[in-house]
């Protein structure tokens, strides 16, 4: 035994890669390079950039860089050769709070106009081109630069407005995204707001119940279609519809279907005498329920959104569970049948243990995806009526309140919570499956 291992050790390849292996490695990296590049640029880069932005005091408006606005006009009448007029350049820093560095502008004079007076000392005139260097311009700064011009015969014969040649302004301003100003204000703002913890709680409810709902419903649906019968393949196709159809289509359909005034579901329930008045499924935060003398606030909108989640994503778990069930060997069931096991016992003691692996994998995947989900709630309720999850909060902070930094800070929270979940899952999930 020891001999064998020694021998194997002796003929084991050296650590250094041979030329063939190195060529293979080069080829492999070459083939993976495009994938690396695009994933780095569009996924990993932005992921890091999001951390960067979360420490920045940046709003939606800061994405437009500060610019020098130049507005020119001619003051005075140029009605005869030799007449003079003032050419005025009105300058304005468009930004409320940013300095423009090395600002300036250039403009071309119309044919037939010449600069006669002493121009502003910051300006130079060469041929018919005026170039001005203004240095740094303070935020909200306005000023006017005037230049005296004289017209000759050519201009009087063929007057051209000086505005026809637009003044080109130049200058750089500090880009808040690339400088090194950092702040913790985004995080302190979101953690101190009273909403945040309720948003976190809603997210957890939504994720846990949405995931569990989709799994349980999918498991049930898979049991139904596991035995062969006429029309099974049609039903299987039908059951996949909610997952395949675009989210905008099904979300708006649910809104129309559940509308409190003209929705079909409310009409049906009222027609069947199940409810007295219409239920505002997506608009009502909660309704008091009396259970055995205990009054609890039942969250209506959140439950509806969770039901939508289960409805839309049960097909995925259904598909995987069905595929797994069809690959189970029938022998065990035959043996159990002979031993007198009842159908429910067969399910509980034979089917379910063999499905645990796929169920765990599906739970992990669906949990993460549900946690990441933005579209569904955004389209159904817009985060109103107690359904605002972390992902909707990212949108609200960044684009509704126009505070990109705060939105990025919430996104950081999303990512960190997700990372924690994943670590816990990978630590405790069954190792051999998936």
């Amino acid at each position: 035994m020891t001999d064998l291992t020694d021998k194997a050790g002796a003929v084991a390849p050296p650590d250094r890669l041979g030329p063939m292996a190195r060529r293979e490695m080069g080829l492999a990296y070459g083939m993976l390079l495009p994938t690396f590049a695009i994933v780095l640029a569009i996924v990993l880069g932005p992921l890091l950039a999001n951390f960067w932005i979360s420490f920045k005091p940046v709003g939606l408006g800061d994405l437009r860089p500060a610019a020098l606005f130049v507005n020119e006009r001619l003051r005075g009448d140029l009605d005869e050769p030799g007449a003079t007029a003032r050419l005025e350049y009105r300058l304005r820093n468009s930004s409320q709070d940013k300095v423009i560095h090395a600002a300036g502008f250039t403009d071309t004079l119309p044919e037939g106009l010449t600069v006669t007076g002493q121009p502003d000392e910051r300006c130079k005139v060469t041929d018919s081109v005026i170039t001005c260097f203004l240095g740094d311009i303070e935020p909200r700064h306005r000023e006017t630069i005037a230049i005296e011009v004289t017209a000759d015969e050519g201009y009087i014969a063929n007057p051209v407005s000086p505005r026809d040649s637009e003044a080109q302004s130049s200058g750089t301003s500090d880009n808040i995204l690339t400088n090194f100003d950092f702040t913790l204000e985004n995080f302190s703002r979101i953690f101190s707001s009273s909403d945040f913890w309720s948003v976190l709680r809603v997210t957890l409810y939504y994720t846990i119940f949405g995931t569990a709902g989709a799994l349980v419903v999918g498991l049930f649906a898979a049991q139904l279609l596991n035995t062969a019968f006429k029309g099974r393949s049609i039903l299987r196709g039908l059951f996949l519809f909610p997952y395949v159809a675009p989210v905008i289509a099904v979300a708006f359909t649910w809104i129309v279907l559940l509308d409190p005034f003209s929705g079909t579901l409310n009409s049906i329930l009222r027609q069947m005498d199940v409810i007295d008045g219409p239920i505002n499924f997506f608009g009502q935060r909660s309704v008091p329920l009396n259970l055995f003398g205990l009054t609890i606030d039942f969250p209506v909108a959140l439950s509806t959104v969770i039901a939508f989640e289960a409805w839309r994503y049960f097909p995925l778990s259904f598909l995987f569970i069905l595929a797994r069930m069809q690959s189970l060997s029938s022998e065990m069931y035959e043996a159990a049948e002979i031993d007198g096991a009842t159908p429910l016992q067969q399910f509980w003691y034979i089917s379910l243990p063999q499905l645990v692996g796929i169920l765990a994998v599906l739970f992990l995947l669906r949990f993460i995806w549900t946690f990441n989900k933005f579209d569904d709630i955004f389209l159904l309720t817009g985060g109103a009526a107690g359904t605002r999850t972390l992902t909707v909060d990212v949108y609200e902070q960044a684009f509704a309140v126009s505070n990109l930094g705060a939105g990025a800070a919430v996104a950081v929270v999303v990512f960190v919570v997700l990372l924690l979940f994943s670590l816990v899952f990978f630590k405790y999930s069954p190792k051999d499956e998936g």
Binding site: P34, L47, T264, S422
Partner: protein, 409 residues
């Protein structure tokens, strides 16, 4: 003839089926015909229970076709008597054609379900095994009805709303009967409106361009990558094949703010090109993962033979690997197409100009109080049909690709 748990379970099963079929079919009747009624659920429960009792009181081997006819007759009689001759709660003269079909369906389905559930079940005391068999039959039947209604109802409402007008929907939200007298131009008014006034032709083209481009770019990137991970040996190969899917777990909402900022400054934000960069980046990891699983399943001897005969690696991929993996390529292409077609978040954040809207973005713009609801639903139908047609066409590919390629159970 024995009276025991079998008999009682027959009664309970009959009652449940009576309730379920009366509710389901009466509502379908109301939606299709536009008539309004309050279904006599109690009578149907009674009729179903009676049929269940009649079938289980006779031993299974003596349930002749004559007895089955008797059960049907019993359902009809109980239904008629208990409702005083109005089995749907309406006088028979109102929408008679629809009523007759609905009543026949109720009677037929109650009988079919009860007789299926009690097949081979005697009326005497049942063993636990047989009790569970009955219970599972009932649950499976109810489950099929429940799931079919659950999935079909929203899609039915979506299509029918798009063919109705706002006034008639507000007047009676249950009335989905179609008025064929107005001719096809009247029936498809919303669709004509969408394509002539709301630029839906452009949206459709934009969505098609973006989705097809995403599929092509994704395959172009993922095929070599997947081949490398599946076949070539290099440091980090095992790590890559395991962890590439993690990229797919990164929430899109975390990427939106930096991409919004960067694309705004690069001038890519309000363009279809921007989408064609972002979409492939999110689909490539999945495509790579699915493809490498499939490539591993192709016998490597085939490729080695190709190499021996003087093909280069690229030649092997093009002439041997790809032709053999056409089914996988098709399923990956479909999956990516569906992701790109259905994508909402980035289309919503990036696109401002109406003439470059994709369908997702375009339908959202219909969600305002100024646009009638049937237009919104027509937009939803337009967005759904292409992807649903493709899905039904290639369902087999897609299902096998999804389950076999991505997660091995």
């Amino acid at each position: 003839m024995r009276i025991g748990t079998g008999f009682f379970s027959g009664i309970v099963i009959g009652a449940i089926w009576g309730l379920v079929w009366m509710v389901v079919i009466a509502i379908t009747f109301m939606l299709v015909s536009g008539a309004i009624t309050r279904p006599p659920v109690g009578a149907a429960v009674l009729a179903g229970a009676g049929a269940g009792a009649l079938l289980t009181v006779i031993d299974p081997e003596r349930r002749t076709p004559g007895l089955q006819i008797g059960a049907v007759a019993l359902i009809v009689i109980v239904l008629a008597v208990a409702t005083l001759g109005a089995p749907l709660g309406l006088p028979l003269s109102a929408v008679p054609a629809y009523q007759i079909v609905a009543i026949a369906a109720i009677v037929g389905m109650i009988w079919l379900s009860v007789s299926y559930c009690t097949k081979g079940i005697s009326g005497g005391r049942l063993s636990r095994y047989h009790l569970e068999v009955v219970f599972i039959r009932l649950m499976k039947g109810l489950g099929l009805v429940f799931f079919t209604v659950l999935v079909a109802l929203p899609f039915y409402v979506m299509v029918m709303t798009s063919l109705k007008s706002q006034q008639s929907l507000i007047a009676n939200p249950l009335d989905f009967s179609l008025d064929f007298a107005q001719g096809p131009a009247g029936l498809f008014r919303s669709y004509i409106e969408l394509f002539s006034n709301y630029h839906f032709g452009t949206f459709l083209t934009n969505s098609a361009i973006v989705s097809v481009a995403t599929v092509i770019i994704t395959l172009f990137f993922a095929v070599p990558g997947a081949y490398a991970v599946a076949r070539l040996r290099f440091p980090g190969q095992a790590f890559l094949s395991q962890s590439i899917l993690l990229i797919y777990m990164v929430p899109a909402i975390v990427l939106v703010i930096p991409l919004y900022a960067a694309f705004s400054q690069l001038g890519l934000r309000n363009t279809l090109t921007g989408l064609m960069i972002v979409y492939p980046a999110t689909t490539i990891p999945v495509a790579l993962y699915m493809l490498q699983g499939y490539f591993r399943g192709i016998p490597s001897e085939l490729e080695e033979a190709g190499l021996m005969d003087g093909l280069t690696r690229i030649g092997v991929i093009l002439k041997i690997t790809l032709p053999l993996s056409l089914p996988a390529l098709a399923s990956v292409a479909l999956y990516v197409f569906m992701i790109a077609w259905n994508e909402f978040l980035f289309a919503f954040m990036f696109l401002d100009n109406v003439d470059i809207f994709t369908l997702s973005r375009g339908v959202v713009s219909l969600n305002s109080s100024e646009v009638p609801r049937q237009h919104l639903m027509a937009g939803a139908v337009v967005a759904t049909i292409p992807v649903l047609v493709i899905f039904l066409w290639f369902e087999r590919f897609l299902v096998s690709g999804l389950t076999a390629g991505s997660v091995k159970g």
